[in-house]
């Protein structure tokens, strides 16, 4: 983008892809080769330089007392390398080898029982509390919890307490008509600046660590909520008046009695009933220490993952997965912690899969429960019963907060992670559909789990993962807004549809696969008819649309160059108004930005057309293959050539044959396992290629114009086939697999020749080498076949191709 932008500013026209080559192709290629060679040298030097930098940093770390294994642990924790790669990277660095004491020194949490960790964590909090008991004993319990977790310095703690005490005294002096007024007053007293650009989630960060230093940031939603509740607590209010509530990445206050929600960052109240279901499904009302701890530990973990904020010795873990688990054990309904955890583990390997699926399932269940919980509050039922269990805001002053009461935590069932399978955790489909329709957040979670399961199924060919994904996608699709997304050709939905099709295949439900593909195509491309009046199919129409879009770019370019020095037009002004957040506008002419935006939009539309074309091709092939695997179409000698053309000359099998079976398509795997594959191999070894007319007849009717153009070349090709047959080299049952491949290559090149120049060229280069390689194998294997090799190397189509290039 920058390069393009630079070109534009200098007035140089954009280089338009596909605009045609004006210089001799070899010259361009040679120049490109030279540039690439130069780039290669630079890249190699850069890698060497980076390695030297790493060695330098490691030496410095070593001066701070780091051992080799500590550095290796750090590197592994970065997620970029495994043990062996880390060791290889550090090879040549003369730091000492791993000592047996390394594990004791390394700042990594040992494999400990999670209960011991909870105790240790709570002990750690309790130690802080005891040390600061004098300051904290007259404060609310929640402030005690907050301080024990955040561990502010003495200076910070004194400042926080002074702030709370001052505001408490001030508030007492005032008369308020209701609680809302009182909360608004307190919040204003805390800090009336509600547009702080640098808020911090930690209460302690609003004060400097020591006198004369600068504080880290201002108050954010978390810090405001905790401080307000602490002050209210001191003023004698309890859970019946106000609760802390967490959302996904957010905290607010809830007043269950008056059924209000209080947004501390904008200092205003809203009736709970006015809250949309999306927000309601995320609300987790904090009732006890466990939940408060869970939320805060999750917050600290996220801090470690994203941007290290004031790490405590207890949390000096380069792998905080255990800490996350601990937080989840304390409160598995904590939305923010669960999301941060998911973000971490879903990027990892397959070993995390059960945990990812479990976490998603729990989040979905919790989100649905949350809707019920809030509805219960709104209906006034259970609200009073629950309040008796809640301990967090009880006003009774305690002499010592017993934070090490982990037995209590362990004995409560709802604090433990549920170990049931995700199917037990997920609600039934009826409830799920209702929830998806009501809450975009739940839809987001269900889509996340469906996508993850589908990708997992593709990687592992696991039927149960595919079935789970199918169930979730079907639920998503049965809800109206989701269908709307598809009709609007939302790319995300488009790719989800492709995932769903794969899952049907992996699960072996071919019936559904046919139905879904048949339903998908007309729906998906409803703006384009399946076959237009001239008999052009969808693929042709899309290709045309793509070219038209691309053709607009040079035109746009011309208009831009002609007008770029003129004053801003109305459209430019509208663009600036509608895109106030576009950073580029701060630096560049809005006219340029608008132009680039339009170009990008055209390129995106064109790329989307291309992906749809690929999908269609894929679809056509998979559809046939599905029928073959399912036994609906039998591969016989009679129809072999038809299937052979449709399937084995496709891009799908190019991947299979030419790229060494890397990342096999599930369809190919399914095909190989099916009985049809045996049929295919059997017939492939006995087939002869003696009837070119068959080939012509098997072209779809609307591609007849292609065939006409090809006919002359086909005739030439036929002579070659004749030659091979006359030498008895294609007859009989002895065709070996690589020979079939060679014939396939010849056929492929021949067929592509007619379709489009681009495909022909792309595939020709790929096939040509493969073809030559096979020919040379023939020569080595069987001297008698030299004649064929010579003949084939002078093929009619090859000459025709040269002719074609010359005329172009």
């Amino acid at each position: 983008m920058y390069q393009r932008l630079g070109d534009l500013i200098s007035g140089k026209p954009l280089e338009i892809k596909g605009a045609g080559l004006k210089v001799a192709e070899t010259d361009i290629l040679t120049q490109e080769l030279l540039n690439e060679q130069e780039g290669l040298v630079k890249d190699e030097n850069e890698v060497r330089g980076l390695k030297v930098s790493i060695q330098g940093i490691v030496t410095k770390l070593k001066n701070f007392g780091y051992t080799l294994s500590m550095v290796i642990s750090l590197l592994i924790a970065s997620g970029e390398v495994n043990q062996a790669q880390a060791e290889e990277l550090l090879e040549g660095d003369n730091i000492e080898t791993t000592s047996s004491n390394d594990s004791e020194q390394a700042p990594i949490l040992e494999e400990e029982d999670i209960n011991i960790q909870i105790d240790s964590l709570l002990n750690d909090c309790n130690d802080y509390f005891r040390k600061h008991e004098n300051l904290l004993k007259n404060q609310s319990q929640i402030l005690g919890f907050m301080a024990s977790i955040e561990k502010p310095t003495d200076y910070q703690l004194k400042q926080i307490i002074a702030l709370i005490d001052n505001i408490t005294t001030e508030t007492k002096k005032q008369n308020f008509s209701d609680l809302q007024q009182k909360i608004t007053f307190i919040n204003n007293q805390l800090d009336s600046n509600f547009t702080d650009k640098n808020p911090s989630a930690m209460v302690k960060d609003i004060f400097p660590e020591a006198e004369g230093k600068k504080p880290i940031g201002g108050l954010d939603c978390d810090a405001r909520s905790v401080l307000i509740v602490s002050i209210l607590n001191k003023l004698g209010h309890n859970v019946e008046d106000v609760n802390l509530a967490t959302f996904y990445g957010h905290m607010a206050l809830i007043n269950k009695k008056d059924k209000l929600i209080y947004e501390t960052t904008v200092n205003s109240f809203k009736p709970l009933k006015d809250l949309d279901t999306n927000s309601i499904s995320q609300i987790d009302i904090l009732k006890d220490l466990k939940q408060f701890l869970a939320y805060n530990i999750g917050k600290i973990c996220a801090g470690q993952d994203n941007d290290n904020v004031g790490l405590l010795p207890m949390f000096r873990s380069s792998d905080n997965t255990k800490l996350y688990k601990l937080a989840r054990r304390l409160d598995n309904k904590c939305v923010t912690t669960a999301h941060n955890y998911l973000q971490k583990i879903s990027r990892g390997g397959l070993e995390n899969a059960p945990e990812v699926i479990n976490t998603y399932s729990q989040l979905i269940k919790a989100a649905i429960d949350n809707i019920d919980n809030i509805n219960n509050i709104l209906n006034d039922s259970q609200a009073n019963e629950e309040s008796q269990e809640q301990i967090i805001l009880k006003v009774k002053p305690k002499k010592e907060v017993n934070l090490t009461n982990s037995e209590e935590i362990e004995n409560e069932d709802n604090g433990n992670i549920q170990v049931g399978s995700e199917n037990e955790l997920l609600p039934n489909n009826q409830i799920l559909k209702k929830a998806i329709a009501e809450s975009p957040y739940i839809k987001y979670l269900v889509t996340g789990l469906a996508d993850y399961s589908a990708d997992l199924a593709k990687k592992t060919m696991d039927k149960s993962a595919a079935e789970r994904a199918i169930n979730l996608y079907e639920n998503l699709l049965s809800v109206k807004p989701a269908i709307k997304d598809i009709v609007e050709m939302d790319p995300k939905s488009f790719f989800n549809q492709k995932r769903l099709l794969n899952c049907y295949f992996i699960s072996g439900d071919y019936e559904k696969y046919f139905q879904a593909t048949e339903n998908l195509i007309p729906d998906k491309y409803n703006s384009l008819p399946f076959v237009d009046l001239d008999g052009h199919d969808l693929e042709w129409q899309l290709q045309r649309k793509k070219y038209n879009l691309e053709a607009e770019i040079p035109e746009l370019n011309r208009i831009y160059i002609e007008n770029k020095d003129l004053p801003l037009t109305k459209e430019d002004s509208i663009f600036v108004k509608e895109n106030p957040h576009n950073n580029l506008l701060n630096y560049f002419n809005p006219k340029t930005v608008r132009y680039l935006s339009e170009v990008t939009s055209l390129q995106n539309q064109s790329a989307f057309c291309e992906s749809k074309i690929d999908f269609l091709k894929d679809y056509k092939i998979k559809y046939q293959l599905a029928k073959i695997i399912n036994g609906e179409i039998k591969i016989t000698k009679d129809n072999y050539r038809n299937e052979f053309i449709n399937l084995y000359m496709s891009d799908l099998l190019n991947t299979y044959y030419y790229e060494n079976n890397k990342d096999k398509d599930p369809l190919i795997v399914a095909f190989e396992k099916s009985a049809a594959y045996d049929d295919f191999l059997k017939i492939a070894r006995t087939i002869t290629l003696n009837n070119i007319e068959d080939l012509i007849n098997n072209f779809p009717a609307n591609e007849v114009f292609v065939v006409d153009k090809l006919r002359s070349k086909i005739e030439e090709f036929e002579t070659m086939i004749d030659f091979l047959q006359k030498n008895n080299l294609l007859e009989g049952n002895d065709l070996l697999e690589n020979e079939i491949k060679t014939l396939k290559s010849i056929y492929q090149v021949f067929l592509y020749n007619g379709f489009s120049n681009k495909y022909f060229f792309d595939n020709f280069s790929k096939n040509y080498y493969d073809f030559e390689e096979n020919i040379s194998k023939w020569r080595q294997k069987d001297g008698n076949r030299n004649a064929i090799a010579d003949k084939v190397l002078n093929l009619a189509w090859y000459k025709a191709y040269l002719e074609y290039k010359k005329n172009q």
Binding site: T26, V81, S765
Partner: protein, 54 residues
């Protein structure tokens, strides 16, 4: 052998591009590692400064 020449160059180009892609991935990885190591080093330096102030 016009066509053959094009093919040769294209083959060479493909190989070099592939190699460069791998090198760029390697660079990306190394940069991330440098970031992780420097963050750790920065933390240690800050700790040291704090200690010296005390």
């Amino acid at each position: 052998m016009y066509f053959r020449k094009i093919m040769d160059i294209k083959e060479k180009l493909a190989k070099i591009k592939d190699k460069r892609k791998k090198l760029q991935q390697e660079q990306e990885k190394l940069r991330k590692i440098i970031l992780v190591l420097s963050q750790e080093l920065d933390k240690l330096k800050i700790q040291q400064i704090r200690k010296s102030i005390k």
